[in-house]
Amino acid sequence: MEAVLQKIAAALFSAALLVPADPLPAADRTVIVSVPGIPGPYCAYGVEKRLYELDGVHRVVPVWEKEQIRILIKDGETVTSEQIRAAFERSEYPYDYKILGR
């Protein structure tokens, strides 16, 4: 039983490292979203546009070579993972993505 609990705790710890807490502390500044296989500009720019509609977003940077979108958070502001997911939803981004953390 103890071993199982240890495994669960380890899994939760690992998950906590990968998925940012909600809300994302402003001090962390940059959130990285993995967008594997992102096919073209309108997918990225559509997401970028919807992310800019969030109050706490300072800058959005598509990093094409790494298949990432980096979100810089304004000082003193917070942006939740849920808000980021909602922005992806509103952009009608059709592929898988993963909020990696900071």
Binding site: G40, P41, Y42, Y45, E48, Y52
Partner: protein
């Protein structure tokens, strides 16, 4: 008996140098030369960062350099002539005389400016009402000076006067004729007909000046994508040449396809090339008066040049003439 050769050798003269290359076979009648790299030196500030929309006017190529946030003007040899910075995400540009129109995908605005950089007017706001945009993605100007804008997330086309007064709009999301799924570019032909790259419906649609639906082409319709000649996998951009023929940047098929004004396939280019000659993501296309076509390659950060010549039932000798 009709003889078909899978490839022919053709001499191509580009920028003073002669290169020999294989012309990809196409079931269409017309032979397009392989893509050739063109201009845009790494020096003198002409480097591109994710080029998209192109326009040809007065002997110059205008490039929407999206991630530099500016429009660049390039001479025929690829040298940088002028630049207009200060945009957020300029995805397309139209030019008439010495006036530029720039659509900014992020700011939901159209900017009309003179060649000296003076802003004449700006219009647009975020939204879905008349005159508002949700990511303007394509722009064209007709001979009367009217401006047509593809409104990406609103799935429609809006028509304005030259100074931005709203005239009419048409479209809405859907697959039927006259509706759109994320339209990305517009062109106007000499008859004043409006051609729209209906990107995610994988087709081209044609309208009259009032927005009445006239025709469409691209596969079997219903938004179905395909690799076969005449089909599209994301019809990203288009342009019309002086003869009225239509060139379409078929983004995920990594090729340019050429059609008559009625949608009959004439030729294609880009599919059989390999390595550095392979288009990675054709995002913009423009034609000059001499039959040359310029293609922006978004992921390769460069401009390519294609020449298509009339060639029917030809042997290598004829093909050589068309390619020269």
């Amino acid at each position: 008996m009709r003889a078909i050769s899978l490839s022919v050798v053709v001499a191509i003269v580009v920028a003073g140098t002669t290169a020999y290359a294989l012309v990809p076979w196409s079931p269409a009648r017309e032979i397009c030369s392989p893509i050739e790299p063109w201009g845009v030196a790494e020096t003198d500030g002409a480097r591109l960062n994710r080029p998209m929309g192109l326009a040809w006017a007065g002997g110059f190529l205008y490039v929407a350099d999206t991630e530099h946030g500016e429009i660049k003007k390039l001479a025929e040899n690829g040298r940088l002539v002028a630049r207009w910075p200060g945009f957020e995400r300029p995805v397309t540009v139209a030019v008439t005389g010495d006036t530029l129109y720039v659509a900014d995908f992020l700011s939901d605005r159209i900017t009309r400016l003179r060649a000296d950089g003076t802003v004449i007017t700006r219009w647009g706001r975020s939204g879905s009402g008349d005159g508002a945009f949700d990511a303007p993605s394509g722009i064209a100007v007709d001979r009367r000076g009217n401006v047509y804008v593809a409104d990406f997330y609103n799935h429609r086309i809006q028509k304005f006067t030259a100074d931005g007064k709203f005239l009419l709009q048409w479209g809405g999301k859907g697959r039927r004729g006259g509706r759109f799924r994320f339209p990305t570019e517009i062109a106007v032909n000499d008859q004043g007909e409006i051609l729209v790259a209906d990107a995610y419906n994988n087709r081209v649609q044609k309208f009259n000046r009032q927005g009445d639906y006239l025709a469409q082409w691209g596969g079997v319709g219903f938004g179905i994508a395909g690799r076969w000649p005449g089909w599209f996998r994301l019809a990203k951009s288009l342009t019309v040449d002086r003869r009225g023929d239509v060139y379409v940047a078929d983004a995920f098929n990594r090729r340019i396809q050429k059609f008559t004004a009625a949608g009959e396939l004439l030729g294609q280019s880009g599919t059989r090339a390999s390595g550095d000659r392979q288009l990675r993501y054709p995002a913009g296309v423009a034609a000059d008066p001499n039959g040359r076509v310029y293609v922006s390659d978004f992921f390769a950060n460069r401009i390519w040049k294609i020449e298509c010549g009339r060639s029917r039932k030809t042997g290598p000798a004829d093909a050589a003439r068309t390619g020269g």
